[in-house]
Point group: C2
Chain length 631, copies 2
């Protein structure tokens, strides 16, 4: 390909819309252009990268026996209603674009394909003899992100490889899950990426086990916690650790007491309370008042207890709340602090004026959830006809993190303004808290598997996620098969995703320098660029053309920079777009000498034009072979 | 690939949802499954076909220097508002799915990409030095079809290859258009399709010239008219012809007369009138009362005159009306008969009770478009705030087909119930009709290029369409470049589409028999199927496995039917899914003899297993080479 025919438009300056290096470089290098918020045109250079990544993905998926297919992007609402996910994905913070067609039927734009594939499996799979089967596709997906950003990292339209496997038993599911884990490691390695496999939360997809693959990079949106011995790695959403040991309260409490009342005017934060009275945060129980909203319109107030030095992990809380209430009320749509603003915006029949914010104790009475007297009694349940009826539970769901539940005596709010209690105990408050893991593990925490190991934080870009789904979807959608004993049962399922377009940008994030991108050769749009230093010199043009023809004939992806620009401009562009190898045909052309430059390390080599092909084949072959070795 | 791992589920009976052979066979053969109206899952067998077609399309597009890219499917409304197509594509019969995102912004799901690519061109293209450039993509597209049907033929989600070229002048556009014409002919031929290039209407896409490529097949939705000498072929929407010569009226009319009044009670059709009075239909002028609706809310009554033996061509009429009024009123949304029902449903302030339907003459007075007295005068223009204000023109746009306009004397309605006029003339009626082509050419009509040639009708499936767009989009969206003289001007554009998924089904429509599909080898999911007649026989299994390995190693796409089914079931399935070559390993295996069967012609050959590879390579090579020769 000749640069003059490539529609190469590079930008000298960083575009204002981009924050992180990879986003800036993809825009500056003419790889992408923004069409709308979170929506990009993939220009020819990026398309070549995406095709190379897709080829590697296909090869590794096919090698495991997976079958490529293509499922619809437009998905009928009734399939999602059968799995119970329509409301959660379209209402509230739901991220599924949805529309009504000319027949008045609702359709969603697929962010994922569990519903479609499970319906298909119910149609196609009848017998254990057809199992296992693993179907995959490489396809554009859609998410109506709240904050689209960072270019292809968090877009509203993006390319995914997603696969769905079906099994006769859980053991077989685990085998395919392991095969996918292996395939994913090979894929990322062949793409030239340093990726870490971490334990992950299964989130809205669900299922029993899941693992993410993170490309480590400063600009990553995910926080991952790893042990130095490499034996533990998890997404922060999921990470577990040993909490620090709590300091005992100096004043020995009476056994089973409610604590001594302490006047604490204006001391509504942990910091204020500790600094005024010399408490350690680990001696406190802090209480959060939240409100959970469900797909069926139900609102459930939550009262969450944590040790004063611990932070709430939102994902662990959402999982705990879902586990208790989603069976009755459908998908958990959101959890927000229960504030007067929320009461107003959701038009809840609730008066919070009796609640002593800043002074809450775990034993806050349900009666404080008093109806708003200004609200007519019939307004609860009245809502626009298209949304579910509003229902409010008037008793708290009380959940305690283990760090709080294990305290024998603690300081907590007195449920009265300007007062706390010192030396309170669970029994004294009349509570028997369940011991849950609701806290966020943090960098510096000691590891569960070895207390001598501490968690270290790193940032990562999620490029893959594999799930053991179990029977969640097959049960909901009645995708059943006849097992070897002739008995009908739901299929076992797994699902496996790779963010193909995100992976391309993650590669840039991991492989760039101040001058531009340094693509791993396996996914570079072109492996080699032959630059004619001065197109006025016939001898340079002639030698460059002959090298271009020779390298192309050898099967290498070669660019020829035949533009009439100055050599400096061409070198800058070659650096910016990140072609791994540059062959400069300049003054040495008369002596059939050229310069070979490796983009990533800047190594330069003067060599005879006749040696270029063999040198490049050897170097490129070495890099590809290195990346093909499985770690 | 082993059939046992292919997830092959074939159906014995024709599915009720399918009407035409190709749709039935794709469903029965396990190529597709319906997910929703006009929306299909592409199962692994079909995906292989689509990949093979895509590869041929890419090779031929790349050979012309076109660059592959990928544009967004979600397109912001404001781009379509800039081109003036948003209303036409979303309101009324508009076929664009559209939605509102969480920020309240409107987005459409791309049925085509002129807007996005023109916006991109405005950003990327500055100078004539960058031209010409031709960008293409292979991508899922969306149309909210009124009547989705025939499987992949008219779906709501489908795969297209679309390309858009940009030029410094019209001559260069014509060259690329010609290059695309050549590439398209090669693509269809390499795919093994008999396709005809026909003149076509440019429709909603616009532009000055366009050509469709039709796969001829009984089940085709398009009517095409061709001359036996092969020099003329056109879509019926666009076709032109010589009309038959009109019979002169027997009674010589007075020059410039209004005609003699004739009592014709109950004779409201051409047939009734001719049979009662012995007229020939070619002696009559029939008058159609229609109503055009525009994007800005304007309604325009139309009075269309045609010779009695001619039929109206809706597309020619729409083009004529658009040419006259779209400048003032935006896109033409629809043309419908002006009836009392329409007046009611559109809530038009109009009383049709004075209009003598069945007795209309071309001189029907504008005054007959009287306001409805029951309508309050202020209701015109009152409409829901989201739709444009309703405006009604109270004078006719009068258009006449040339066949009517050329009549010196004719029979027409008297604009009074139960009466016609005999011997009327245009001058006598006070009209000077413009001579337009509004009539439908028909099979049997004489050709313009040679009156000895008659048009013949055939049915076709549109699989490609190429357009010279000119500057329609670049002017509307200000995509400009600096020409060689340093002057700024709008880009010249062309666009070029191929229905990739439709092409796959069209191939089935053209290549099938009573037992199933007969794929052309170039796009068959597999070229060869090796069938083990009896998997209980170790010698058969062994020979089949060794042939499978040998053929696969030779680079052929081979299926091995290793299922424990009876041989008859396997043969039926192989016929149904249409694998071009079948190798049967049966009783002859002991003597290393196998049977080779060509699917399309049923030719059978007994041969030594050791000769299979060479024979297949030669046969397949011959078929591929034959299809690669350009017609």
């Amino acid at each position: 390909m000749r640069v003059s025919r490539l529609l190469l438009v590079t930008l000298r300056d960083d575009p204002a819309e981009a924050e992180i290096p990879s986003h800036k470089l993809l825009l500056r290098g003419g790889y992408i252009r923004r069409i709308s918020s979170g929506i990009y045109a993939y220009l020819p250079l990026l398309w070549r990268v995406l095709q190379k990544i897709s080829t590697i993905v296909r090869q590794e998926m096919d090698a495991t026996g997976a079958l490529e297919t293509l499922l619809p992007q437009l998905q009928p609402a009734d399939l999602w209603e059968r799995s119970g996910r329509w409301a959660g994905y379209t209402a509230g913070e739901g991220i599924m674009f949805h529309l009504t067609d000319r027949q008045g039927r609702e359709l969603g734009l697929g962010p994922t394909h569990e519903e479609v594939i499970t319906a298909l499996a119910a149609d196609l799979l009848r017998s254990y003899r057809q199992l296992p089967v693993n179907l995959y596709q490489i396809q554009t997906k859609f998410r109506d992100e709240i904050r689209p950003r960072f270019g292809l990292m968090r877009g509203r339209e993006f390319i995914m490889k997603d696969a769905y496997s079906f099994h006769a038993d859980e053991d077989c599911l685990r085998q395919t899950y392991a095969a996918m884990d292996g395939a994913y490691r090979r894929i990322f390695q062949r793409c030239g990426l340093r990726a870490v496999a971490v334990e992950a939360d299964s989130g809205a997809i669900g299922g029993s086990a899941s693992q993410e693959f993170m490309v480590t990079a400063e600009a990553g949106e995910d926080l991952i916690l790893t042990s130095a011995d490499g034996r533990y790695a998890a997404n922060q959403e999921r990470a577990v650790s040993r909490p620090s040991v709590a300091l005992p309260l100096a004043a020995a409490p009476r056994a089973g007491g409610v604590g001594d009342r302490l006047s604490t005017p204006g001391q509504t934060t942990i910091e204020q309370l500790c600094s005024a009275h010399g408490f350690d945060p680990s001696q406190l129980v802090k209480v959060l008042l939240l409100l959970a909203r469900f797909a069926d319109g139900q609102f459930q107030p939550l009262l969450i207890s944590l040790r004063g030095d611990q932070q709430l992990n939102d994902v662990k809380l959402a999982n705990a709340v879902s586990a208790r209430l989603s069976g009755a009320h459908g998908a958990l749509l959101s959890i927000d602090p229960l504030t007067a603003d929320l009461v107003r915006s959701e038009r809840l029949p609730l008066d919070l004026s009796e609640i002593p914010f800043g002074y809450l104790g775990p034993d806050l009475a349900d009666q404080t959830l008093a109806p708003d007297p200004s609200h007519r009694s019939d307004t609860a349940g009245v809502a626009p006809p298209t949304t579910p009826a509003v229902q409010l539970t008037r008793s708290f769901l009380r959940l305690s993190d283990a760090t709080a539940a294990e305290l024998e005596a603690f300081v907590c709010g007195a449920n009265a303004a300007d007062h706390h209690r010192v030396g309170a105990s669970w029994a004294g408050l009349g509570l028997q808290p369940e011991s849950l893991d609701l806290r966020a593990a943090q960098s510096g925490d000691r590891c569960l598997h070895d207390p001598d190991q501490c968690l270290q934080a790193a940032r990562g870009i999620e490029v893959g996620h594999i799930f053991q789904l179990g029977r969640k979807y097959s049960e909901a959608m009645e995708a059943r098969f006849t097992n070897e004993s002739g008995v009908d049962e739901p299929l076992w399922m797994g699902c496996y995703g790779i963010g193909v377009s995100r992976l391309a940008q993650a590669a840039v994030e991991q492989h760039h320098d101040a001058d531009g991108i340094c693509w791993p050769v396996a996914i570079a749009p072109f492996a080699v660029i032959v630059v004619i230093a001065n197109t006025q010199e016939a001898i340079q043009v002639e030698l460059a053309e002959s090298l271009y023809a020779e390298l192309t004939a050898a099967g290498l992806d070669v660019l020829l920079d035949d533009r009439t620009e100055r050599a400096g401009v061409k070198f800058k562009d070659a650096d910016l777009i990140g072609i791994p190898w540059r062959v400069v045909v300049g003054r040495g052309a008369a002596a059939a000498q050229v310069e070979l430059v490796r983009r990533a390390g800047r190594e330069k080599l003067e060599l005879a034009a006749s040696d270029v092909r063999a040198t490049l084949e050897a170097e490129i072959g070495r890099e590809i072979a290195g990346a093909t070795l499985v770690a």
